[in-house]
């Protein structure tokens, strides 16, 4: 089973939930950090990295000896990553998405491809948990290719927990796509609710079941709970606003390590996810 963890709004506690859920399950778990712009799972789990592989985008290399400057490559490139002038071909690697159209369609077979590194995928272990993370290189714009490489390593035989980035655009879509269940972590504020509703729309557009974790619960703002009821989305867990929890996190200590009583609650959360999925399946069939 693949469980992805997203939020819309940043800083609501995705990584806190992802790491404690993984630790609580303990065995047969894989955690994949798909927040490749700012991966933080490693800060809390401190895994041993065993392998590191570069993520490359194939960018075109034009063989001047074969090129007759026909301009086909520039014409088919949707990203304006190639310009053909009378006697020179300019390639702009940062604009290239690596689709491969230019090399395939070049009538002279003058274009080959070379990998341009944009990030890395690292794999390792943290106790019995399999750990995978992607890291986008500083100054690079495109996170989705790195996320795709991380997700190539999803182990369907285990419970795969995917930590996504904040927001609702392409990096999040890429991270959440194909998961069986998406946990949306939010907080009881107008920002939390607004971004949650965007995230719910996104998850629905992808056809994925979701449930909600309300972090920093307590206080007077009850609109997130009202929203869950209205939208018929299960509110699966509440984590109270507690300075001690915030302090543990600030030191890079996971909730279940710092407060072992939470382990039971995370196991219950997992059980609730399984149940929600069974109910949803029954509704569909």
């Amino acid at each position: 089973m693949i469980i992805s963890i997203a939020s819309g709004k940043g800083g609501t506690g995705k990584t806190l939930v992802a790491t404690s859920l993984a630790l609580s399950l303990g065995k047969q778990v894989q955690i994949l950090d798909c927040d490749v712009e700012e991966p933080n799972v490693h800060v809390l789990l401190r895994p041993t990295i065993v392998e590191s592989k570069p993520v490359c985008i194939p960018v075109p290399i034009v063989d001047k000896a074969k090129c007759n400057y026909c301009g086909k490559c520039a014409q088919v490139c949707a990203y304006k990553a190639i310009a053909v002038l009378p006697e020179i071909v300019l390639v702009f690697p940062e604009l290239c998405h690596g689709c491969g159209a230019c090399s395939y369609l070049c009538p002279e077979k003058a274009i080959s491809e070379e990998g341009r590194e944009i990030g890395v995928v690292e794999t390792g272990r943290c106790g019995e948990i399999d750990f995978v993370q992607g890291r986008l290189n500083i100054g690079e714009a495109m996170a989705p290719p790195v996320i795709r490489e991380v997700k190539q390593l999803v182990n369907r035989k285990k419970t795969a927990i995917i930590d996504a980035s904040p927001g609702t655009s392409c990096p999040v879509v890429e991270a959440v796509r194909d998961s069986d269940f998406c946990l949306l972590v939010t907080e009881p504020t107008p920002f939390g609710l607004h971004d949650l509703s965007l995230a719910v729309d996104m998850v629905k557009a992808l056809g994925i079941s979701c449930g909600i974790v309300l972090n920093r619960a307590g206080g007077t703002y009850s609109k997130v709970e009202e929203y869950c009821l209205e939208q018929n989305i299960p509110l699966l867990m509440k984590i109270p606003l507690d300075m001690e929890i915030a302090r543990l996190y600030s030191k890079g200590i996971t909730l279940v390590k710092g407060m072992p009583e939470w382990r039971e609650k995370f196991l219950e959360l997992f059980h609730n996810i399984e149940q929600t999925l069974t109910v949803n399946k029954r509704v569909r069939t």
């Binding site: 712009e37 500083i138 796509r177 992808l206 915030a246």
Partner: protein, 287 residues
Amino acid sequence: MKEIVVLSGKGGTGKTTIVASFAALAKNKVLCDCDVDAADLHLLLKPKRKETHEFRSGQTAIIAEKLCTRCGLCEQVCRFGAIRGLKVDATACEGCGFCTHVCPENAITMEENLAGHWFVSDTKYGPLVHARLGIAQENSGKLVNVVRQNARSIGKKEGLEYIITDGPPGIGCPVISSLSGANLALLITEPTLSGMHDLERVIGVCRHFGVPALVCINKCDLNEKNTDRIGGFCREQRIEVISQIPFDNVVTEALVDGVPVVEYSRNGVAHEIEAMWHRVSQALGKE
């Protein structure tokens, strides 16, 4: 006209809270929300929309079933896994158009995406340019560009002094679009190991694009040891920490009330943010 962009790397460190307060404190400015896929600034600034524009960007492949002979070539060449069982998954399609060029039956066409909307609004604090990226749409960086360009032209036309930009979290495409060419980046961090790790990366991005940065440590009393470490790290990097804001529930209360915190209370946090804006405007003056 000087442009300041507020970034953080890590999400949820307080960017929008601080930008909304700057909106209330600064004079002669245009406001700009570049967090286009989870925009929240409007929740505090209560804009009245004056203009709504479509944002058309990127393309999606469409297969005409009648013409398709199910040869499968499109599926073979697509590197984004966007064609599965001869159906296009619009959320996976990168819009490269490779499939249209190889289809022997010319059965595939590309359709432009309506990828979102952008708005020009009036607020009691001044004009606001903001946007909403469509659900599961791409090209947030391009939409950020559109938002910033329009904020700039409003600023020029009205002879304003500042562009104050609320940036997105992360370090990727929309962050780069928000940052490049700005006069100053204000980086909001928190004294958590994650916050520190992410700050380091976003400082790297500012360096990469040659934008000077200042740092604000929010919730500084959450972990004073870490706050000291951030101070030390910033000194090494020759980046000034211009503000340390203690944790105060008044920030959440103001947010629930829907107003900038400097309008909700006059002490503590509000006072610190006011002092920070003063330092920021001084730094912009020096630019």
